[in-house]
């Protein structure tokens, strides 16, 4: 035990002096998370900081008739109609967002909307679409706006209809004076007002109550990016382990260690322990960064979930898996080039497959990648973190993922032990 600890202390000292390793372990992850968060925040239109409980689709409206008597009511109706959350903005802002495809379409209310309707003139609303807008989405919006527009113009429809009826009665003694203008207008108005409080056919919506706990549908950046990035870089640390061991072998100090009165597994564990500790520090640094810096950028706050114990144990298991992987790489790789290039490359690809760079639900759309992602330990690590951080589950729920990680660790360690050249 003491032997192992002595080895650990020595290795920690060596690694801490190595600037390149330091960069890989601490600076790159933090820089990467920062860049990734900012870019993803920009792309998602920076609405990520506020939790969206509103599941309705955003409808951007450019209201060129903001003071109109009818427009306010029309927009309220539209917002209440169901599917769309109305957000008014300036035309230049809407155009800019449309241009960058942040929105697929916007609704334009003309400046003469209220005046023309008040004077009984028809008006035209425009839904302005991006050329790449989903056709079906446009059709649905068209129908909804049409439906609301019918309600808004009910008074005009009634007036027109009754006027037409009156015109047909010219010469009919039983009804020729039945539809004088003032009476008609009063009738239409009263029916219109009545329809606003008591519609002839009301549509009521009932969202069935949910039985199971709702899965977070919104993607909070900090809970999706930070775990992914931590896992990516924690596993990249495996290459650092491998390089350290490789260099010791090259310099001959490994041979000296082998000749020391140490058992082989003691030596391997003595090599692994410092890295494991360092990896834990790395995880803590990344999470501290996520908890302290990301909120400053308005990217949501990162915690450790509802069970700090589950988080801590998961972190330890993930670090163990990465360290074992490092031992395996060092026992399989023959040259420094293989360690640097090949293992880094494979770790990046595996990290990608595991869902470190893109959310895993996107990766799982493609069946082959879905299968591949399950074959890399990163996916289990990210899943465990995601469950703990985003879904707030406890230790019990992540046990299957942790079990898979331990299985991977055992396989890596076993191959490492078998193939390790103690020389």
């Amino acid at each position: 035990m003491k032997n192992i600890w002595n080895l650990t202390k020595k290795d920690l000292k060596v690694i801490l002096k190595d600037r390149a390793a330091f960069t890989w372990l601490f600076i790159l992850p933090v820089v990467f998370i920062l860049i990734y968060s900012i870019l993803a925040g920009l792309a998602s239109g920076s609405s990520s900081s506020k939790k969206e409980t509103d599941t309705r689709a955003l409808l951007v409206v450019v209201n060129l008739n903001p003071d109109g008597a009818q427009t306010g009511r029309f927009l309220d109706d539209l917002d209440r109609a169901g599917g769309y959350r109305v957000e008014t903005t300036s035309q230049s802002d809407a155009e800019q967002r449309l241009k960058l495809l942040k929105i697929q379409r916007y609704l334009l209310i003309p400046a003469n909307f209220s005046d023309d309707l008040a004077q009984g003139k028809p008006v035209t609303l425009q839904i302005i679409n991006h050329p790449d807008a989903n056709v079906q989405g446009t059709a649905s919006l068209l129908q909804t706006v049409n439906g609301v527009a019918r309600d808004t113009s009910l008074e005009l429809q009634l007036l027109d209809g009754i006027r037409q009826m009156g015109e047909m009665q010219a010469g009919n003694p039983a009804s020729q004076e039945a539809f004088p203008v003032e009476k008609t207008m009063a009738q239409a108005k009263s029916q219109f007002e009545h329809s606003r409080t008591t519609p002839l056919v009301a549509i009521t919506t009932r969202v069935l109550e949910q039985e199971s706990k709702q899965v977070l549908s919104t993607l909070d950046l900090s809970t999706s990016i930070v775990p992914g990035m931590s896992v990516l870089f924690v596993f990249l640390a495996a290459a650092t382990v491998a390089r350290g061991i490789y260099e010791e072998r090259k310099l001959g100090s490994l041979r000296r260690l082998v000749s020391a009165p140490l058992k082989r597994w003691e030596l391997l564990i003595g090599k692994m322990l410092p890295i494991w500790l360092l990896t834990l520090v790395q995880i803590i640094v990344i999470f501290l960064f996520g908890a302290m810096i990301l909120p400053l950028l308005g990217i949501g706050k990162l915690g450790v979930g509802e069970s700090p114990l589950a988080w801590a144990i998961t972190s330890m298991v993930i670090a163990l898996c990465s360290t074992s992987l490092g031992i395996m790489i060092s026992s399989l790789a023959k040259t420094e080039g293989q360690i640097n290039g090949l293992s880094n490359a494979l770790l990046w690809v595996a990290g990608f497959l595991g869902g470190a760079l893109l959310p895993s639900f996107l990766i799982q759309q493609i069946p082959m990648l879905n299968v591949l992602s399950r074959l890399v330990p990163q996916s289990w690590a990210i899943r465990a973190y995601y469950d703990i951080l985003a879904r707030g589950t406890g230790l019990v729920e992540v046990l299957p993922s942790l079990g898979m990680l331990l299985l991977f660790s055992a396989i890596f360690f076993f191959i490492g032990l078998r193939r390790f050249k103690f020389e």
């Binding site: 960069t23 909804t144 056919v201």
Partner: protein
């Protein structure tokens, strides 16, 4: 002393360096394997995502019509004709609720008993829409659509009530015989039909869907690989910076640089030869990856191979220039390697190599786009975009080529100022 022909010197240095580089498998993996794999993965996934978002989805809904009059069946029929709805008719509200609960349908529309009767006698009624909470985001648009579907019935109910009320208030009508009254009812019906038709063809509030014709709209490329492949290729092309700088410093540390300098050739030819070797690597990288993507994913290569070649060479020079500059300001090969690595990530991020969604940073307007203007990567990306997505020609990318060469020159000047030959 008899000096060698500079061109020959450059070529022989480049040849030597190429041989050294080609032996470094790790480096080749980074420059060629990683961008290929990332392009393939990102491209496939994003393409799938775009296809999904473009595709029309079918919303399965259930309709329970309990109305035995005219309107219930009419509404059911119109709902069935809406593209995008897959309508199942069920008999009881309980059966519908069951299907919603099991997410078999997204929503159920319950048309109440006596709807037609109520509408005709101007009594309020209520159509209920049950929504599946797990699919609420899609299902919530159904009530809005339903509003349009029921609007003819509402108009008929309102208009006939209005006419009825006014007539009832008119004494001659009350005194008229029943035949006259029936005649008036028939006329009222005709007016109703006319108004419903007018609302369909020439409504008071017309809603028009138009496609924006703004000229600088960001268009999603048909083949997303044309965006993803250049992004990763440019990103990893600039990863030669660290390797190149480290290589140069290693030569200095190991003394081979000194030996080269004692050879009978001008100093600058050593640097030029090294740069040439790395430019060749970049050209090979672009040729291999773009060629592969063209063969496998039908990625368009644009109509001007010459422009593509010029842009690639300019990018290679900018990257190697940056490599020289990093070598000049670093003290050890390890430091150069790390600096190159960090620069590689940071510059590619700021230059717009990572695209979230379909709008790359260099087209995103505002401050982010302004930042990309200071990064050489963005000019390479912009150029490839113009050639491969927008199908432009040589003349259109000359400014980008020029800026890349400008960057190369700037980097080299800094390098020449700081580099120690020894």
């Amino acid at each position: 002393m008899n000096q060698t022909n500079p061109l020959r010197a450059i070529l022989s240095v480049a040849w030597k360096d190429l041989q050294v580089i080609l032996k470094d498998r790790g480096f080749l993996v980074v420059v060629i394997f990683l961008p290929s794999v990332f392009s393939t993965l990102f491209g496939t996934i994003n393409q799938k995502n775009i296809d999904n978002s473009r595709r029309s989805i079918t919303l399965p809904i259930a309709v329970v019509n309990q109305d035995d009059g005219l309107y219930g069946p009419q509404i059911t029929k119109v709902l069935g004709e809406i593209e995008g709805f897959k309508v199942t008719t069920l008999d009881t509200p309980a059966a519908a609720e069951e299907q919603v609960r099991n997410s078999q349908v997204m929503a159920a529309i319950l048309i109440p008993q006596g709807l037609s009767q109520n509408v005709n006698t101007y009594q309020p009624s209520e159509i209920q829409v049950l929504i599946d909470p797990t699919q609420a985001a899609y299902a919530r648009i159904i009530p809005g659509i339903l509003k349009e579907v029921i609007s003819p019935a509402v108009l008929v109910g309102e208009l006939s009530y209005g006419i009825r009320t006014l007539l009832a208030d008119y004494t001659p009508y009350q005194q008229a015989d029943s035949a006259t009254q029936r005649g008036l009812e028939a006329q009222s019906l005709a007016v109703n039909m006319a108004q419903v038709q007018k609302e369909q063809s020439d409504p008071w509030v017309r809603v028009q869907a138009v496609t924006s014709t703004g000229k600088d709209l960001v268009i999603v490329p048909d083949n997303l690989f044309a965006m993803v492949v250049p992004s990763f290729t440019v990103m990893f092309a600039f990863f030669i910076v660290g390797a190149m700088a480290a290589d140069l410093l290693k030569e200095r540390q190991e003394g081979t640089l000194r030996r080269l300098m004692t050879a009978p050739m001008p100093r600058w030819t050593i640097i030029a030869g090294k740069m040439l070797a790395f430019v060749v690597i970049v050209i090979a990288q672009v040729a291999l990856i773009f060629g592969g993507a063209n063969l496998i994913f039908d990625m368009p290569l644009g109509r001007s191979p010459l422009a593509l070649a010029l842009l690639t060479i300019a990018m290679g020079l900018a990257a190697t220039g940056l490599g020289m500059m990093v070598a000049a300001i670093s003290k050890t090969d390890r430091q150069a390697d790390t600096t190159g690595l960090l620069l590689g990530f940071i510059l590619s991020a700021l230059g717009g190599c990572f695209a979230f969604g379909v709008v790359p940073l260099y087209k995103s307007g505002g401050t982010p786009e302004l930042i990309t203007r200071f990064i050489p990567h963005s000019y390479a990306l912009r150029g490839f975009d113009a050639l491969m997505i927008e199908g432009k020609g040589l003349v259109d990318v000359l400014p980008d080529v020029g800026v890349l060469l400008g960057f190369a020159l700037l980097f080299l000047l800094v390098a020449a100022w700081r580099f120690r030959y020894e």
